[in-house]
Each structure stands twice: as C-alpha cells, then as structure tokens.
C-alpha cells in the first residue's frame, strides 16, 4: 500500500563526489517498503521543477528511510540544496520488488557470503578488478556452476550494463531480475509515461516494474 505523505530531512550529505545520501524521518504515514521499491520525492518550491523525482529505497532505518541519489539535473540539484529540518513531499513505496525465489537460502545462509564475496570493479582498474560488472559476472558464473540451488542475478544500474547482465545471465540459463528506469511523470501508474517494451507489449516501469524478469524485456 503506498501513501502520500510528508517527511522531514534528518541528513542530506554527499557521500562521494556528487552522490548524496538523504535520510528522512517523521514519516507518520509510512508503510513498510520492500527491496526494489521506490519513492516519488518533491519539494514545495514552486513549479520548476514541476514533477516529483523517482528514487529507489536505499535503506530502511529504525526511524525512517534513506535514499541515495546522484546530483544530475534540476530536480536533484534542488534536492541537494535542502537541509536538516526541511520537509519533502513523498509518494510511496511504489512499484513491485525483487522476488526472492528461495528465501531460506538468501536470508539465512548467503547474506554473509554475499558480503565476503563482494567484488569491486572499475573500467580502468584503478580500484578492484579491471573490467565491467558483466565481465565479473561471467567469471563468477563460470566458477560457481555447481552450487546446490539455482543462482539468480539481481541487478540495477544503467541500461547498457543491465542489458549486458541480462544477456550474460540468459546465455548461461540463469534467471535474472533487473530494475529499470524511465522518465516518469506520476509514478503511480496513471500517466503511462514510463513504459518499457516487453515481449507482451509495453509495461509501466512504475507499476508492473521497476523490477522485471530480464528475459521479458525487449532490449
């Protein structure tokens, strides 16, 4: 169930270069979000920017939630200029979430393992492995084909990367879920602005998504 509510900024600071972490509190109307869902966030500062901006949930905190965003245009620039105590206009949580095909495995067994196996990669090799996420994924899958349960790939990020991940996963017969982005006006399924082409026609990123089965997308 999504809600339309107002929340107070507890903290809004850059973590790295132009990537900011926004902590929100006093969310009276908040309902519990699921991994992969997103929020539409707006300010009360006039009509330009006009529309709210969509941000994925970064983390649920004991007293609210956190969003992690890149300062990119008019909307995120304005957002980055806002500080503690200021109030934002929010709709959410919205959209679907990542399906967990085998909850026992992921929640009980593998979470620690995920962190232990965290791999960083950069295009120029200045940090971690030199290469893309797709290269790492291909290598990882090649070495982990004998695990007890079927592996599942969960991905979010820029479309070219997601396309590469989807192709890799599909070529290996592995199920993949990708979180997509598209320009959005309303975020609640009304405007039909954020569609993506799937094998069964256009689907709304905000409603049938943002998480899609990688095999369903017409890349």
């Amino acid at each position: 169930m999504s809600r339309y509510f107002r929340a107070q900024i507890k903290e809004n600071r850059p973590l790295h270069q132009n990537h900011n972490l926004l902590s929100l509190v006093n969310l009276d109307e908040m309902t519990e979000p699921a991994p992969g869902q997103f929020y539409m966030v707006g300010t009360d500062r006039g009509y330009d920017p006009l529309l709210k901006r969509a941000f994925s949930l970064f983390r649920r905190t004991p007293d609210g939630l956190q969003l992690f965003y890149r300062v990119r245009g008019k909307g995120t620039s304005l957002l980055s200029s806002m500080g503690k105590g200021e109030v934002l206009d929010i709709v959410g949580p919205l959209g679907n979430s990542y399906p967990l095909p085998n909850e026992d495995q992921i929640l009980a067994g593998e979470l620690g393992g995920v962190y232990e196996n965290l791999v960083l990669c950069t295009d120029d090799g200045s940090c971690g492995i030199k290469g893309t996420v797709v290269d790492v994924l291909r290598d990882f899958m090649g070495r982990h084909t004998t695990t007890s349960s079927a592996p599942v790939v969960y991905a979010c990020g820029p479309v070219p990367m997601l396309r590469g991940i989807a192709e890799t996963a599909l070529s290996l017969g592995v199920r993949g879920y990708v979180s997509l982005e598209e320009n959005m006006a309303c975020g609640i399924g009304a405007c039909l602005g954020c569609v993506v082409r799937t094998k069964s026609g256009y689907r709304r990123v905000c409603k049938e998504g943002p998480v899609f089965d990688a095999a369903e997308i017409v890349w």
């Binding site: 039909l192 569609v195 993506v196």
Partner: protein
C-alpha cells in the same frame, strides 16, 4: 473533474482519495480497438510544465467496459468516457457503443487526433471537419456530449462555434499545446515521438484566454482546464467563463491534487463570500 489522460480509469488514485468527492472522472481516451501507444521516452519535464507523447495508449472500449467501469461505478461520481477515432465512422461507432453501456454519464470526444481518411490532418483544426465529426457523433448518442477542443488553432472561437452548431452540449478546453524539446548534446528529440503535447502551469495563461474567448462565442457551457494547480487557478478559469474545471497535470505532481483543488475552491468562495459557485462564471471585468 479530472482531465482525460491524467487520471487513468481512476483505480490508481482511489488509493489516495475518495473519488466520490469529484464531480466527474473523465477517463483516459478510449478507442474501439486497443492502442499500443508511442515508443519511449514518452514524457519529459520542461519549465513549469511537461511534454507528453503517450500516443493514445488504451485498452479499448470493450476491455474498459468489462474490467474498469465496474470499479468506477462504485463511487458517487459521474463517469465521463473520453474517446477518439481514426475516421468519422469510427468516432460514431465508438460513441454508439459507449452509449449502450450502463453507468456512463456522458461522453467527451477528443478531436485533437489525425483523420486517417483526410491526409492525417487533425480533426479539430478544421471547422468543417469538426462540424462533420461532431454531427456524426451527435446522431450516434443521446448522452451529454462534450467536445474537447484543440488549442493548436488560429482562432478557437471558430472551432467552438463549429462544435456547438454540430450539437455539442459542452466544450472542454484546452487540450495540450504541441511542443518539442531537444537534447543539445545528442541532438536527439527528448520524446520518442519527436513532438508532443505541453501541459502544466506553463500553459495556464493560454488556456485562460481561450476559455475567455470560447465561452463568449458560444451558448453552451465550457469546462476549463490547462495548468490548474490550486483553487485560485480554478477560480481564475471560472471567472474567465468556465462553468466547470478539470485538473490534469497537477494529479501527476500530487496524487490528491483534484480534491485539494476542490477544497481550495471552497476556501476561495468563503474568502470572497460567494454562495453559489455558478455565480462566478464569466464575471471577468474586462471592460468589454
């Protein structure tokens, strides 16, 4: 009222407000056959507004009647079916089908789409074609018939009169203004369809002027819309000559916008000591 295309078939908004508070829900434009719509990107924000090129995506009249109308009928609000066609015959057939359905209180015809039979010109930009298509729909329905005018014309009063002469019961204006935005880095249009329709506060002065002009040119009621964001904006349209108002893009910005604007109109009436909202229509003191 809600403006067609900004409120889906009401379902998405029912989560946030009581649809029964609205005078009418005008549903997303319907055609006889379902439409897939345009390739993305379909929406792009512009200064105090947005461009859209959804491409009239809709589930078709039959699916609407079967799957969406029963939901809307639960609420104490009028259901107005917005519809369109590719030809005069299609318009008439769509109107006839919608008129045979229980639970639809009125029709709104969108004449801002191309006429496939006449070189893809827009029905609503030629007064003779407007007269022809509205006449055909008039013969096909006894329901209240609203004609939604295109603002992309030289003189709105000519189109308003053509629709009235053909038997329209009311006019709604304005539809979106055609527009375009380009990414100057890639030099590509920002919309998949290249051009689209501009809406939001940016178009409000254009809309107010057209409502002012059209309402003076015809004897039928005018429903005003175009960038209404609050109760004061709504009052401005009423004063300009509208008998009712519709909320569009504001519902994208705030899902509860339509009922907030209703509250805003009530607050304006209290402030200005207006007892009957109808007494406000066309009271602009323009000295003319």
């Amino acid at each position: 009222m809600t403006a067609s295309g900004t409120f889906g078939y009401g379902e998405e908004y029912a989560e946030f407000m009581d649809l029964g508070r609205l005078g009418a829900v005008v549903v997303k434009g319907l055609s006889l056959q379902p439409r897939e719509g345009n390739p993305p990107p379909r929406v792009v924000e512009t200064a105090a507004g947005m461009l859209n090129a959804i491409g009239l995506q809709n589930i078709g009249i039959e699916a609407f009647v079967r799957e969406k109308l029963p939901f809307l009928r639960q609420f104490d609000t009028a259901v107005i079916a917005n519809f369109f066609g590719d030809s005069v015959e299609e318009y008439a057939a769509a109107a006839e089908r919608l008129s045979s359905v229980e639970g639809i209180h009125g029709l709104e015809m969108n004449i801002s789409c191309p006429n496939k039979q006449a070189g893809w010109c827009i029905f609503g930009t030629d007064p003779r074609v407007t007269f022809q298509v509205v006449s055909a729909v008039r013969k096909a329905t006894t329901l209240p018939l609203i004609v939604k005018l295109s603002p992309n014309v030289t003189d709105i009063t000519i189109m308003a009169r053509a629709a009235e002469d053909a038997g329209a019961d009311a006019l709604s204006l304005i539809n979106t203004l055609t527009g375009m935005a380009i990414d100057i880095r890639t030099r590509k249009p920002r919309l998949g369809n290249v051009t689209g329709g501009l809406s939001g506060p940016a178009i409000k002065p254009v809309a107010v002027k057209m409502v002012y002009e059209a309402s003076r040119a015809v004897g039928i009621p005018v429903i005003g819309m175009g960038g209404i964001m609050n109760g004061d904006d709504a009052a401005e349209f009423l004063i300009a000559g509208a008998s009712a108002v519709a909320v569009g893009t504001a519902s994208f910005v705030r899902p509860t916008a339509a009922v907030e604007i209703l509250d805003g109109i009530i607050a304006y009436m209290e402030r200005e000591k207006i007892e009957d909202i109808r007494s406000l229509t066309g009271t602009v003191d323009s000295g003319k």
